[in-house]
């Protein structure tokens, strides 16, 4: 099985039942989601920011790992689709009492919840749950371990498409802790599916996973070489635990060697955009002058996030309009 996600997330009728990974999703389906998201983008600008596509549906934000940004944008997206929303921070409730993942899920299904947005610290957790939910119940992966964070990846490619258009001429650099990054893995699959000319990964050997070239990327250890001529630079967040696990000496050394400064950014294309999935560590992976500077599209990403999540929810629930109002 070369594409583990496909068989689980796509139903026998070819429709998207769950949204678990960008791997194996294919260009057409990604473009469909991006177009649908663009059609929803207009909703934000209306005085009544709602469409009735998920009226009567109950969306559960099931977060086994804490999150503010992702959970909030999923909640907003669900509310703009007129769904009822339940937020569960499970890390502090049931599992602390020894309840298993499947028991938690079974209880929520018994309450007639029909769409689960799930984040969990184990890679493969969303696939596991998708295999065990009742038919007609949908799972959206909001981040599983170091495996996938597909809605974040699609909002990133939507941001790139808005600024750059066609992917076939683009060179995109992803810089930082790829070893632990589910965002980077999902971005790589999505960017490849869209025909991106060149995807580069940049970082020290301790933060690049083994045989990452097999995902179709080229590897750089020097940031100046890695971002030279790039159309977009995606910076990844550096977690403090990396120092505790002896993968790096210090945040200071990391910044001096791999931090994105205006001087380094000058190596990229003059109109290059700078992205970051957030939350950013100023002075660790990115200089404030870059984060707040003219190349930065970091806040655009957050706005795109709501539209992408509305599109994905409507698609898996089967309530998306057939022809996006692009």
């Amino acid at each position: 099985m070369a594409e583990p996600g496909r068989d689980v997330q796509v139903g026998a009728d070819g429709r998207l039942q769950h949204f678990l990974t960008t791997e194996g999703l294919g260009q057409d389906r990604i473009v469909e989601i991006l177009d649908l998201a663009e059609s929803f983008a207009g909703v934000h600008d209306k005085s009544i920011k709602k469409v009735p596509l998920l009226r009567g549906h109950t969306v559960v934000n099931l977060f086994f790992e804490t999150s503010t940004r992702t959970r909030t944008t999923f909640e907003l997206a669900a509310k703009r689709l007129s769904a009822d929303v339940l937020n569960l921070n499970v890390s502090t409730s049931a599992t602390a009492k020894g309840e298993s993942l499947l028991d938690t899920l079974a209880n929520l299904q018994a309450m007639q919840c029909d769409l689960f947005v799930m984040r969990h610290a184990e890679s493969g957790a969303a696939h596991f749950v998708a295999r065990h939910v009742a038919p007609g119940t949908h799972v959206i992966n909001a981040g599983d371990g170091q495996h996938a964070h597909p809605t974040q990846a699609l909002l990133d490619v939507l941001t790139i498409r808005r600024h750059k258009g066609d992917f076939e001429n683009l060179s995109i650099a992803i810089v930082g802790d790829l070893l632990h990054s589910r965002v980077a893995r999902s971005e790589i699959h999505a960017l490849r599916a869209l025909g991106t000319r060149e995807i580069r990964v940049v970082g020290p050997r301790t933060l690049l996973p083994s045989e990452i070239e097999a995902l179709g990327v080229s590897v750089f250890h020097d940031i100046e070489e890695g971002i030279a001529g790039a159309d977009a630079v995606i910076m990844l967040r550096l977690q403090r635990e990396r120092m505790e696990h002896a993968l790096l000496p210090s945040e200071t050394e990391y910044f001096s060697k791999w931090g994105l400064t205006p001087e380094r950014l000058a190596r990229a294309k003059p109109d290059a955009i700078v992205m970051h999935p957030g939350p950013i560590n100023r002075g660790v992976e990115i200089d404030s002058r870059v984060a707040d500077g003219p190349h930065s599209v970091i806040l655009d990403q957050v706005t795109s996030g709501i539209a992408i999540r509305m599109a994905v929810m409507a698609l898996v629930a089967g309530t998306a309009p057939r022809e996006p109002r692009a």
């Binding site: 993942l101 170091q146 045989e211």
Partner: protein, 423 residues
Amino acid sequence: MSALRIRGGRVVDPASGIDRIADVWIADGRIAAIGDPPRAFPDYTPIDATGRIVCPGLVDLCARLREPGATHKGTIASETRAAAAGGISTLCCPPDTTPVIDTAATVELIRQRAAAAGGVRVHPLGALTTGLAGEFLAPMDALRAAGCIGMSQGDRPIPDTHVLRAALAYAATLDLPVVLAPRDPWLSTGCAHEGAVATRLGLPGIAVAAETTELARILALAGDTGARVHVGRLSTAAGVDLLARARASGVHVSADVAAHQLHLTAEAAAGFDSTAHVQPPLRDPADRDALRAAVAEGLIDTICSDHQPHDPDAKLAPFGASAPGISALETLLPLVTALARESVCDLATALARVTVGPARALGLAAGTLAPGAEADVCIFDAEAGWTVDPERWRSRGRNTPFAGRQLEGRVEMLLIGGRDATH
């Protein structure tokens, strides 16, 4: 006890170099002769083995029975029945039970339960260090007196190299073999082979170096102390290379590989299939091929099941949160004979790795059909195909990545000491 004649089968006894159609004559629970009947052979019961393979009962050096301590996963009774169904007449269980096998009382408990289960011969391995904690030497002589045929750490490390060296030197003094799994604890915190599949799935990796660094330490100390070391469950081509070099330089070391490592690779985990979660992890095709070559040439003298039965809940979790291990007693024989079918080696060589190989590695009086030996005999149909359906297994553990697979080789009868232990 009645006498038996196993008639017309292809007798494969690698220990005595026999591979031909012949009769096997059994009296008083022992092999009396192969070929012509001994003089004055008593009245016998015939067993027709025409078209079947007749070989020594299999010897498995690594099978967790889960008793004492985890009887919801398996019991000595359930797992020895599974072993018998798989053609295994002798097995060794590692000391990592609860409590650990570091007192004569625990050895006695296991031996009594095994005797009550009746059938498969169970040899407990004693703990090399107290509580397997890697700090103080276990009472090895007392454990031997209670019935342990060797010492082991299970899968737990001895981080302190001085303790490991002393443990090996002390075991060497008592001429006790020591089974060690080469696994660096700090490099083994992941759950999948470090490589393209783990990278794609975002699973924490276990590097090849997790095996080679610890193996190099074990081999150096084996040479240094003169201990009889058996290296358990190799998984890498680089580990095979290290073993070959140590052997060439005269280190007294034997080695085994788990049968699943000869057939599966990291790709088995690709769909987050928790039945493929195993330690050491399933590795690259090049590793599998090197392990196969080492089995064929005898550098690896033993294939074990590495049987680890689990309750369903232990595997009903995301990959990394599931318990590692495969329930493997009932697939050992077909996975071994598959090596002959896939032209890795001939059938006699494949069977040597589950009979005379393991018996010699730990000095067990088993694994041969030589006259005078205990009549532990496996009769199987090498051509019979069957679909792996763990729901029908004797083992309590249904956790196998081979479920639904078509395998060839079905045990028809297992004699242990001349008695039918099949049912």
